[in-house]
């Protein structure tokens, strides 16, 4: 598969959006439990953005608002978008699983499920932060491993 130009600023804005949303849901839910609805919403945003880039909320925020106004400078890099999309989709899947735990853990008697759901969402945020701060993309490494084993075309 050929290299193309990927704007890494769009990826950084996406990762910042993920970290910020999970943190708001996590901290905010301590005071106002319904804020946990941000987790399934974020899962939907990430999964939609994986399959239809024009629906990727944070990337669109970058391309339509932050970039034109010069708030965030573009950083084009010769790269392949597939591993990044795969990583985003993986984040979306984990958040969807987290949402299921949160949904079934909402009654006070099932707080263990709530803890597991929140922990999964936190792990997604940690991985997005590691990618944002250190450039290490776990989803991209999984993509490489799957490609190496011939499970996907890497």
């Amino acid at each position: 598969m050929a290299l193309t130009t990927v704007d890494h600023s769009a990826l950084k804005v996406n990762q910042t959006g993920i970290v910020a949303t999970v943190l708001v849901a996590f901290i905010g839910s301590y005071f106002f439990r319904p804020l946990l609805v941000l987790i399934p919403l974020l899962a939907v945003v990430l999964l939609l953005g994986t399959f239809a880039p024009q629906l990727a909320l944070f990337k669109q925020l970058y391309f339509k608002v932050l970039k034109p106004r010069g708030i965030v400078k573009p950083r084009p890099v010769q790269d392949r978008p597939e591993p990044h999309n795969f990583a985003q989709g993986l984040g979306g899947v984990f958040l969807a699983v987290s949402s299921l735990f949160l949904y079934f853990g909402t009654p006070a008697s099932a707080s263990t499920l709530l803890v597991i759901g929140l922990a999964i969402a936190l792990l997604v945020a940690v991985l997005a932060f590691v990618n944002l701060a250190f450039g290490y993309c776990l989803g991209c490494q999984i993509y490489y491993q799957l490609g190496k084993r011939g499970l996907i075309r890497a």
Binding site: F26, L118, Y136, Q141, G147, A154
Partner: protein, 137 residues
Amino acid sequence: MSIQLWALAVAGIVVLAVAGLEVYRSARARRLVAGATGEPSAEPYIIYFTGEGCTVCRTHQEPALAKLGAVRVDKVDAVAERELADRFHVYTLPTTVVMSPDGRALHVNYGYAPATKLDRQLAQARNGSALESTATA
């Protein structure tokens, strides 16, 4: 204890477990690579494992390799050349292997290795030293 604190504790334990697993995997790969050999050369050289999907390779590792100057760097596509990648137990990209002139793997860096580190390893390779491995990914 609140649900949030429990969740934080669970996430922390998972992160620590993964970090521990990474240290173990790196140490295991180092043991396995100890016997690996490549072709001999007049000077120490670097085998650089990369792939099309590796962003850090392009944004960090390749500029670092360019800073080394006149050092032979054998660029290998780890997906296309799986046999060679398996010989050096490449489990993450980029991976750089500093080879001694007689073709022995002296240093293996799993993950991004800065130019200063590679320079130091090359200097040690010129003088001769034991295998060292690090996981910086």
